[in-house]
C-alpha cells in the first residue's frame, strides 16, 4: 500500500494570472499507491494545480519535487517523460482508429521497418488487462461506449510507464455503473504502484474512492485529511468557508401570476421530465454540478434542443419552440454562458449589439432608423450604466462586466418576458458582479421572470427567490429563499446526504 515517502511533492506553489492568484502557496504530497482527491468550488485552483503537475503551467514561486529531488517541468512533454499522465474530460482518442492504434498512437512497435501489429495487439491487451478490462484491440474506438473509451485512454497512458495519473472530472460523462467501473480501475492502478490525483465535484464518489482528501479554496489550501478522519459535511464546510464577504442586494419583486410554466418537459439531450413555474418578477435559481442538465434545460426552453414531450406556457399561452426565433417571439431569451463566442458581435458597436434581437422596434416602414436606434440604445446604456464609449466603438473593447450588461440590454430591448441567465457573473470582477445583480433587480421590477443558472452557490442562494436543485436532468428539490443553506445545496447537487435534507 501507500509508501510513506512522497512520490511527487509541491511546496508553497504560487501561480498568478492577470487579476487572479490561482494558487497561493499550496503544498501537497502525492504517494505511490494512494488516491488523493482534490476538492474545491469552481475557480478554487484545482485545475491550475493539475496543470502545474502536468507541465502546462509553470509556477511563479515554489518548488516541485519528484522522489525528493527538485524538478522543473518546462512543458507537458517534460512531465510526460517523467511519468505524469493527465486524463481530461475531453478525450484525445482518434475515433476512426482501432483500440491498438490509439494506444500506440505515434509510436507503433516496428520490426524491420514494418509495423509489428501482433506486438501492438499483445501490448494493448496487456495494458487493458492491468485495468481488469477486456476490449478487442481491433475494434474501432468510435464503436466503444464512453466508459470503454476512457479505459482505452487510461491504457494508453499506462502503456507509457506512467507513475502519476491525474484524473480531472473523469466521471462527468459517465453513468453510475460506469463510474463504479472506473473507480475499480483506479483502485487497481493504485495497488499496482501508481500515484493518483483525483479531481471531482462529486463528493459522494470522492469519498467512495479516495484515501486522502485535500480541499482548496480561492487558491489556498484549506486542509488535507485522511478520508477516514473526515466527512462529506466537513469537506463541504472547508470548501465553502464560513465567511461570506460578498454582499448581495436582493429585492423581492415576485408577484403572483406565473410568467413561465414548464410541464414535464423532456429532450433527447439530458432533460428528463422537468416541471416548474416562474412568476412575474421572480428569480428562480438552478443549482447543480457541471453536467447536471441545467444548461440543457435552458437550451430546450430557447428552442435549441427539440422538446420531445411536455408543454411550455408563457403567460398562460402554450408556445411552440422550434428555434431561437420562436423562443424570442414567445418572449423567452437566453443569455449564454460564453458571451464572447455566443453573444457579442465584435464587428458592431454597442447600439447594433443591443438592437439586433429586436430590429422591429427601430423600423420605419421597411427601413431601420439609425437615429432612433442610437437614441434608444443610448437610453438603455445610461439606465444600465454601460460604458459610454460603447456607443461608437466595438464592444470588443469593453470590460467583461460592460459586455455582460450589453447582453442584458439586448434582451431588455427585445421586450423579453422570460430571461434565462447562464452563468452571468462568470469571469467578471466583484464590482461588475454587483452591477449585474442590480440589473437583475431592475429586470424583475419590470415583471420579467428570471431563470438563473449559476455555479457560484452563495450567489445563487442570495439572489434567487426560489432555488431548484438539478441532478441528472431532473429537478430533485425546490427550496424557498432562506430555506436552503449552501452546505445543503452542495450536498444535494453532488448527491451526498440528499435524504437528510429532502426530509
Amino acid at each position: 500500500m501507500a509508501t510513506y515517502r512522497p512520490f511527487w511533492e509541491l511546496r508553497s506553489v504560487v501561480k498568478t494570472f492577470p487579476g487572479v492568484r490561482a494558487l497561493d502557496g499550496v503544498s501537497l504530497a502525492l504517494r505511490i499507491g494512494e488516491i488523493h482527491a482534490l476538492l474545491g468550488e469552481n475557480g478554487s485552483g484545482k485545475s491550475t494545480l493539475a496543470k502545474v503537475l502536468s507541465g502546462v503551467h509553470q509556477p511563479d514561486a515554489g518548488e516541485v519535487f519528484q522522489r525528493g529531488e527538485l524538478v522543473v517541468l518546462r512543458d507537458p512533454h517534460d512531465a510526460q517523460t517523467r511519468g505524469v499522465a493527465t486524463f481530461h474530460q475531453e478525450f484525445s482518442l482518434v475515433p476512426e482508429l482501432s483500440v491498438a492504434e490509439n494506444i500506440y498512437l505515434g509510436r507503433l512497435p516496428q520490426r524491420r521497418g514494418v509495423v509489428d501489429w501482433s506486438a501492438a495487439r499483445r501490448g494493448s491487451v496487456e495494458a487493458l488487462a492491468r485495468l481488469n478490462v477486456k476490449i478487442d484491440p481491433d475494434r474501432k474506438v468510435a464503436s466503444l461506449s464512453v466508459a470503454e473509451q476512457q479505459f482505452v485512454e487510461i491504457a494508453k497512458a499506462i502503456s507509457r510507464d506512467m507513475m502519476l495519473l491525474i484524473l480531472d472530472e473523469p466521471t462527468a460523462a459517465l453513468g453510475p455503473a460506469e463510474s463504479e467501473r472506473l473507480h475499480g480501475v483506479t483502485r487497481v492502478l493504485a495497488q499496482q504502484g501508481t500515484a493518483i490525483l483525483y479531481i471531482s465535484h462529486r463528493l459522494d464518489e470522492v469519498f467512495a474512492v479516495a484515501d486522502v482528501v485535500t480541499v482548496l479554496k480561492d487558491g489556498k489550501l484549506v486542509g488535507t485529511n485522511a478520508r477516514r478522519e473526515t466527512s462529506v459535511r466537513e469537506a463541504v464546510r472547508m470548501m465553502i468557508g464560513s465567511d461570506l464577504e460578498e454582499h448581495f442586494d436582493r429585492r423581492e419583486n415576485a408577484r403572483e401570476r406565473p410568467r413561465l410554466e414548464v410541464r414535464d418537459v423532456r429532450t433527447e439531450n439530458r432533460v428528463n421530465g422537468v416541471s416548474f413555474a416562474v412568476a412575474e418578477g421572480e428569480v428562480l435559481g438552478f443549482g447543480g454540478i457541471a453536467g447536471a442538465g441545467r444548461t440543457e434545460i435552458a437550451r430546450a426552453l430557447f428552442g435549441l434542443d427539440r422538446i420531445t414531450e411536455g408543454d411550455v406556457l408563457v403567460d398562460g399561452r402554450r408556445v411552440e419552440l422550434r428555434s431561437p426565433g420562436d423562443a424570442i417571439e414567445a418572449g423567452i431569451a437566453l443569455m449564454p454562458e460564453n458571451r464572447k463566442a455566443d453573444g457579442l458581435f465584435f464587428n458592431f458597436e454597442g447600439p447594433a449589439n443591443i438592437t439586433i434581437a429586436g430590429l422591429g422596434a427601430i423600423q420605419i416602414g421597411p427601413f431601420l432608423s439609425l437615429t432612433r436606434e442610437r437614441r434608444r440604445a443610448r437610453k438603455l446604456m445610461q439606465e444600465l450604466r454601460i460604458d459610454r464609449r460603447a456607443e461608437d466603438r466595438s464592444v470588443r473593447f469593453l470590460s467583461g462586466g460592460n459586455q455582460q450588461k450589453v447582453m442584458l440590454a439586448r434582451w431588455l430591448f427585445a421586450r423579453t418576458r422570460v430571461l434565462i441567465l447562464d452563468e452571468p457573473t462568470q469571469g467578471i470582477d466583484v464590482s461588475a458582479k454587483q452591477e449585474v445583480y442590480r440589473v437583475i433587480n431592475e429586470l424583475t421590477a419590470d415583471g420579467i421572470a428570471v431563470v438563473l443558472i449559476s455555479s457560484d452557490f452563495p450567489e445563487l442562494l442570495a439572489i434567487s427567490d426560489r432555488v431548484a436543485v438539478v441532478r441528472s436532468g431532473c429537478i430533485i428539490h425546490f427550496a424557498e429563499y432562506g430555506e436552503l443553506s449552501e452546505h445543503e445545496l452542495v450536498e444535494l447537487a453532488a448527491g451526498g446526504g440528499a435524504n437528510e435534507v429532502a426530509a
Partner: protein, 348 residues
C-alpha cells in the same frame, strides 16, 4: 449623428479610395495614353460589369461565405440569353428578365446547399463553377452565338440624360445595395451572421436563410453582369466571364471586406473594382501579355487576402517593436496597460 455616420463611412472607404488613386496615378505617370478621354471611358465601361458582380461577391463574403461560380454564371447567362433571343425569338426585355430569375434560382441552389446542406460554400461553388460553364458549353456546342439582336446594343451603349447607361446601372445598384445593407433589418442581419454566427443564431436570426438569400442576390447580379456583357459584345459565348469571380472577390477584399465575414463596405468594393480594372487597363496599355496580366491579378488577390488575414499579427508586431523601442528609452517607467494591444486587433 449624421456626421458620425459619415465619419464611419469615410474611415472604411478612404483606404480603398487612396489605393485606387495611387494605382491610377502610377498608370497616368507611366503612360500618357492612360488619361486620354477615350481610354478613361473604356475603363468606365469595363468596370461596370466587374463592379456589379462584385456587389454580390461582397454580400456573400459579408455572411462569411464565398461564391466562386459568378464568372461561370455570367457565361451561362450570356449563351442562354443569346440563344432564346436569336433562336427562340423572345423579346429582349422578357429574355433579360428570365435570365435574372434564372440567376437568382441558381444562386438559390448555391445558397441552399452551402447553408442548409452544410457543404462548405468554397467547395460547393467550386463545383457549380465547373457545372455552370459546362452547361454553357453544352448549350452552344462550344461555339459562340454572334449578331444576336440589334435590340441588345442600347442596353449597354445607350444613355440616360446624357449619362452612359453602365454608369447609371452602377450608381443605381450600388445605391440600392448600400440602402439594403445599412438601412434594412436583413442587411443588418447579414453583417451579424458574418460577425458571429453563433450569436446571430442565439439572437433569433435564421442564419441559413440569411446566407441563402445572399447567394440569391449574388446569382441575380451575376445574371445582370452576363446580360450587360452579351449586350456589349452582341454575342453569347461560353468563354465569357473567365476569372470574373476572382476579380469580383478581389474587388471586395481590396475594398477591405474580411473573408471572415461581418466587415466590409459596399462603396469600398466599388473602389476595389476600379483598382483592378485600372491595373488591367494599364497592363494592356503597356502591351503586357495576357499571361502576365493573369499572374498580376493573382498576385494582387493573394496580397489583398494576406493583408486581411495578417492585419492582426502585423499590427501586433508593430506594437511590440514600438514598445520595445520605448522600453529601451525609459526603463524606469513600467508599462501599465495592455489596451494598446487590444486596440490594434480590431479591423478598421
Amino acid at each position: 449623428m449624421r456626421e458620425r455616420f459619415a465619419d464611419a463611412l469615410r474611415s472604411q472607404v478612404v483606404g480603398p479610395f487612396l489605393i485606387m488613386l495611387a494605382v491610377a496615378t502610377a498608370m497616368a505617370l507611366s503612360t500618357d495614353r492612360f488619361l486620354l478621354s477615350q481610354n478613361l471611358k473604356n475603363v468606365g465601361l469595363q468596370v461596370a460589369i466587374v463592379a456589379i458582380v462584385a456587389i454580390g461577391a461582397t454580400i456573400v463574403i459579408l455572411t462569411a461565405q464565398i461564391d466562386l461560380s459568378s464568372g461561370s454564371l455570367v457565361a451561362l447567362t450570356s449563351v442562354l440569353l443569346a440563344d432564346i433571343v436569336k433562336n427562340a425569338g423572345l423579346s429582349v426585355p422578357l429574355a433579360a428578365l428570365l435570365m435574372i430569375l434564372m440567376g437568382a434560382g441558381l444562386g438559390l441552389v448555391n445558397g441552399f446547399f452551402s447553408s442548409y446542406g452544410r457543404i462548405p460554400s468554397f467547395i460547393f461553388t467550386l463545383g457549380t463553377l465547373a457545372i455552370f460553364r459546362g452547361l454553357a458549353f453544352q448549350q452552344t456546342g462550344g461555339t459562340p452565338i454572334f449578331s444576336v439582336s440589334p435590340q441588345l446594343d442600347p442596353i449597354f451603349y445607350g444613355e440616360l440624360g446624357g449619362l452612359p447607361l453602365p454608369f447609371v446601372y452602377v450608381v443605381v445598384l450600388y445605391a440600392l445595395a448600400w440602402a439594403f445593407l445599412i438601412y434594412t433589418p436583413r442587411g443588418r442581419q447579414i453583417y451579424a451572421v458574418g460577425g458571429n454566427e453563433s450569436a446571430a443564431r442565439l439572437s433569433g436570426i435564421n442564419v441559413n436563410r440569411v446566407r441563402t438569400e445572399a447567394f440569391v442576390i449574388a446569382g441575380a447580379l451575376s445574371a445582370v453582369g452576363g446580360i450587360l456583357l452579351t449586350a456589349r459584345l452582341d454575342s453569347g459565348s461560353p468563354n465569357y466571364g473567365q476569372g470574373l469571380e476572382l476579380m469580383a472577390i478581389a474587388s471586395a477584399v481590396i475594398g477591405g471586406a474580411s473573408l471572415f465575414g461581418g466587415q466590409g463596405n459596399i462603396f469600398a468594393t466599388l473602389f476595389g473594382a476600379f483598382t483592378i480594372v485600372i491595373v488591367q487597363n494599364g497592363l494592356n496599355l503597356h502591351a503586357v501579355p495576357s499571361a502576365w496580366q493573369n499572374i498580376t491579378l493573382g498576385a494582387i488577390i493573394a496580397v489583398a487576402v494576406g493583408v486581411d488575414m495578417w492585419r492582426g499579427e502585423f499590427a501586433r508586431l508593430l506594437v511590440r517593436l514600438w514598445r520595445r523601442g520605448r522600453a529601451a528609452q525609459d526603463e524606469a517607467r513600467p508599462t501599465t496597460s495592455t489596451s494598446a494591444e487590444d486596440d490594434v486587433q480590431s479591423r478598421p
